[in-house]
Symmetry: none
Subunit: 195 residues, 4 copies
């Protein structure tokens, strides 16, 4: 694997683990056992690394969102999709943490766009469910539910730092489903949701 990619991978791991603010460019170089000069050969600095990771995440999320057709999707497909989406967010979780701590000026724009995308996607999901008469929530309450789903989706990233990522992703999905459940006209038939 090329050095550039190794820098990205290692940075991501370290940022996720310790918070991007607590990792210096020298930390990354040391972990990779490369010289700081080499790091700067590949990236202008820590910020550019973060921006790149942010773009990767945007791309991954964007691809997922673009592929999904909320009108046509089956329930089991939706479950798979949700897991994928959460997995991506978990993979780049430090971005979401940064959003809350790093002020907008420096705070990278990409992550903010991402958030808006995810937020509006959440709202659309609920609308789609309602159009299929699967969900029964009134206008304002639906917005609130969307907000809640979105917030919970994010905050779960920060706290469920459990065992394996796969398990964490499943738990996260369950958690989100449990928020929607009470408002459904019938229980969703989601693969993996065996409650």
């Amino acid at each position: 694997m090329g050095t550039r990619q190794r820098i990205l991978d290692t940075s991501l791991a370290m940022f996720n683990h310790h918070g991007s603010a607590n990792i210096t460019s020298l930390d990354i170089a040391a972990e990779l056992e490369i010289s700081p000069g080499n790091l700067y050969y590949h990236f202008k600095g820590k910020e550019e690394i973060i921006n790149q990771l942010s773009k990767e995440c945007e791309l991954a999320v964007g691809t997922l969102l673009a592929r999904v057709d909320l009108e046509a999707i089956s329930e089991s497909e939706y479950w798979v999709f949700l897991l994928s989406l959460l997995r991506v967010c978990l993979h780049y979780r430090f971005l979401f943490l940064d959003l809350q701590t790093v002020a907008p000026p420096q705070g990278n724009r990409g992550a903010q766009r991402l958030m808006k995308q995810l937020h509006s996607f959440t709202a659309h999901s609920l609308e789609a469910l309602e159009e299929k008469a699967l969900l029964q929530v009134k206008g304002e309450q639906r917005e609130q539910l969307a907000d809640n789903l979105f917030l919970l989706g994010l905050s779960w990233l920060c706290f469920d730092s459990g065992d394996s990522d796969d398990k964490a992703v499943e738990r996260g999905a369950q958690r989100l489903i449990s928020l929607v459940n009470p408002h459904l006209t019938r229980q969703l038939n989601l693969a993996g949701t065996d409650q």
Copy 2:
């Protein structure tokens, strides 16, 4: 107002606004228009300021929790209490953000204790509601609901940095209530929830 208190107030405001990691001790001194030496006369460093704010928050939350009797409380009293609790958390919101970013070793113990308190309080609240037959959720799902309430309570702090604190607090409370609502046997009669 004494300089010590002004330092605490200004620090809190700056920490809440920009994240504690992005504020240096000199920033605080500059904002207060005092010399760095003076800042260090009152506090050994940024960390001691944070610890003090953490203690204040713990005290405020502890006092609120100690005063409330979940068995005997009326619905309107609960509403008032919930608003107070959220107001305190909002006031010291940077502490909750720090928790997610700053590693446990340095990360102040106080805020971690606080979180556990709030988490277990959330669980107890639901238990109390169920004993009064107001709530109907099975064991595991109740835990999940408690988790959700807790997580949402925290994450709301980070994102709803809207207009006035009072409005934000009301919105936060509504948000939490909306999570519980679907599981109630009858609608709570909470003062202020007139929507």
Copy 3:
């Protein structure tokens, strides 16, 4: 006892114990439980305290040296005198340590004068002994012996930080005598030297 004197006493004790370089003016004020302002009311700063202590020491040594008549003194009187002299040096021992560490520009002049006095006094003592035909050392060797006595007198200050000052003073005197002994025509009959 007046504050001024208490400052001198406490400073001396702290300087002797920790080295003057490691004691700040705030340390002294704290130890005395007075305010830094009060300290500066009595002395312009740490340096003035040191200068004053240095003067005291010079005075005490000067008085001792002035009183002694090397030609007429008896052996037992000499012993008493030597003990007194060493006691004074021990009492102000930090001055002698400072001499070695603090460069001449800042290094206080007083202590340097003191050293010269003591050095030449040592030489004179040996001359006196020789005139009485008690000592038998040739010119150059006598100078060297004087140097040795002087150096040992000082360095003993730094290392014999044993139990009580009185014991230390006796040990110091013994140590010096043992240097002279081999060159004496007959053993000195010094009170206290019962070995």
Copy 4:
């Protein structure tokens, strides 16, 4: 010469000349005309520089002591050895001064070990001389003589900061020999001791 070595050399010179307490890390950087950052690139701080110098000194002294066989050594060899030993101590003289001023907790352990080594070596030297029937001193007095030699050896470091190091070393050795001389059964035949 590498920067690291230049830092060590310059630091040693400055420490010896002004006392380690009076030299700041910036002083060293300024003298070398390097940036403070560069200094810290090579050493974590002043303390690490001192520790390194201390190790060097320990090593040099240790090597000398290990090579010498007190039983078998000839007198002229001993003289050479003694000069070497004193030269090393003079070269690192600031270490011995620090010992007296800097409290044990921070005061570096290495220099303390060194002192003990030198002290016990002094005692062993005298024992060896006695076994060869060259020296005639009773038990307790021998200990005192050893102490005196040791103390004088150290304090000479502090005061004989004369012209060239070579001259100073010779004077120091002479000074030590003159302490032992009176107790010898016959004059030592030391190369260079032409008295």
